[in-house]
């Protein structure tokens, strides 16, 4: 399907996002699919800071930033005002993992519970990158960050797994929830389109790499993200109207790649390779997940 605005850009170059950052790829495509009748609300974070340094902006659609933890609340207000004015406009939130799964979690939960007609897009680079790579609730087990450091007493790094934010939001009975990965481009695009076609609160959990935080060559962004799904580490699925039992896995690699392939390309996992049992643990976790949920894959 070709979108009406696919060849237009609503996100301009000249921004200060790092070379190779995946977030602008996600943003530009969400906007191409949503089109110009869209209001963006942005949580504090790299994306907000690097795209709106006064007096210049990269945004060609109306854009609002209030603070870190309240993008979903601000979007609720925008939506109420749109309703009060009797208008019809897409409202899209972009928030990072810190602003979504941690500090902005309450506001997001409230927004979804109240049923605001908003699409919330989480670009998840798995740590507080804007403040310098601190661990968040979305940092995976075994990742080094500047607050989950690796040393003699802790050879692992982060000791807890990621919050399953997509399922948590789905459990609120959001109308559409999906995990997505820009490297799995057709799946990603289809999910953005699908999310736009629903009314009510919608949530996209999109994996986004960070060259500085994940410690990888900028040219490898898409390659690494692709491996996240081809190893099965970041499964792609969708949940409609909170029906978690009938979640649908939208992508299953024909042959799963070993998790090492994903891990070895990133400096944040380098320490794990001194301990083969840790790599094995991650592989076992992935295998267990697919054993449990693999049946949800429907071609």
């Amino acid at each position: 399907m070709k979108n009406q605005y696919e060849d237009e850009e609503f996100f301009a170059p000249g921004h200060g996002m790092c070379a190779g950052c995946a977030a602008p790829i996600i943003v530009k495509w969400v906007l191409k699919i949503a089109g110009p009748n869209t209001i963006v609300v942005n949580a504090t974070g790299c994306l907000e800071v690097a795209t709106t340094a006064y007096p210049r902006t990269s945004w060609k659609v109306p854009w609002l930033h209030v603070a870190f933890e309240n993008a979903a609340a601000a979007a609720s207000g925008v939506e109420a005002a749109v309703k009060a004015k009797g208008e019809k406009t897409n409202i899209i939130v972009f928030g990072g993992d810190g602003g979504t799964v941690d500090i902005g979690f309450q506001a997001l939960s409230g927004m979804v519970e109240r049923g605001h007609n908003v699409l919330y897009v989480l670009y998840d680079n798995e740590a507080y990158m804007n403040t310098g790579i601190q661990r968040s609730g979305a940092t995976p087990w075994g990742a080094w960050t500047t607050t989950s450091k690796v040393g003699e007493a802790n050879p692992i790094g982060k000791l807890r797994p990621k919050k399953p934010i997509a399922k948590i939001i789905a459990a609120h009975n959001a109308s559409y929830v999906a995990t997505a990965n820009p490297a799995m481009f057709q799946d990603f695009k289809k999910k953005v389109e699908k999310a736009m076609s629903y009314d009510g609160p919608r949530f996209l959990h999109v994996l986004s790499s960070c060259t500085t935080g994940w410690r990888h060559d900028p040219s490898k962004t898409i390659e690494i993200l692709r491996l996240a799904s081809d190893t099965g580490l970041f499964p792609l699925y969708e949940i409609i109207d909170g029906d978690i039992e009938n979640m649908r896995i939208t992508y299953k690699p024909k042959e799963f790649k070993p998790v090492e392939e994903y891990l070895k390309m990133q400096g944040r996992f380098r320490h794990l390779f001194k301990h083969p049992e840790y790599i094995k643990k991650l592989q076992d976790d992935v295998n267990a997940w697919w054993e449990k949920y693999g049946k949800h894959y429907i071609k």
Partner: protein, 105 residues
């Protein structure tokens, strides 16, 4: 001193284009249009976006597409004013039609 607006609002959409982030570049992607199959994957994944899809005569002028490029439209054209040289396009090109060379200034 630049103009100050009430509340810090910015009313020129997309004026970040005044920032020529091409100066960040260390390596430079160069499209070989002989090899390019016009799949547009480079355009799809460019995070700036600094790769434009040139579709017609009008856009040719806008992005100064190289002569050999425009024989087959649409075609990806790199705007070096903004390309930061991340190399995603070079890495993702399915036919290795993009070279990644040291920037010379």
């Amino acid at each position: 001193m630049e103009m100050i607006t009430r509340g810090g609002v910015i009313t020129e959409p997309g004026n970040s284009m005044e920032n020529k982030t091409g100066s960040w570049r260390v390596f430079k992607p160069v499209i070989n249009y002989e090899k390019c199959i016009r799949c547009m994957i480079c355009w799809q994944f460019c995070p700036e976006p600094a790769i434009f899809k040139v579709k017609d005569e009008e856009e040719k002028k806008k992005y100064e597409a190289p002569k050999d490029a425009i024989k087959r439209l649409p075609v990806p054209v790199i705007d070096y004013d903004y390309c930061k040289g991340c190399g995603i396009c070079y890495n993702e090109c399915p036919v290795k039609a993009i070279d990644f060379v040291m920037e010379e200034r």
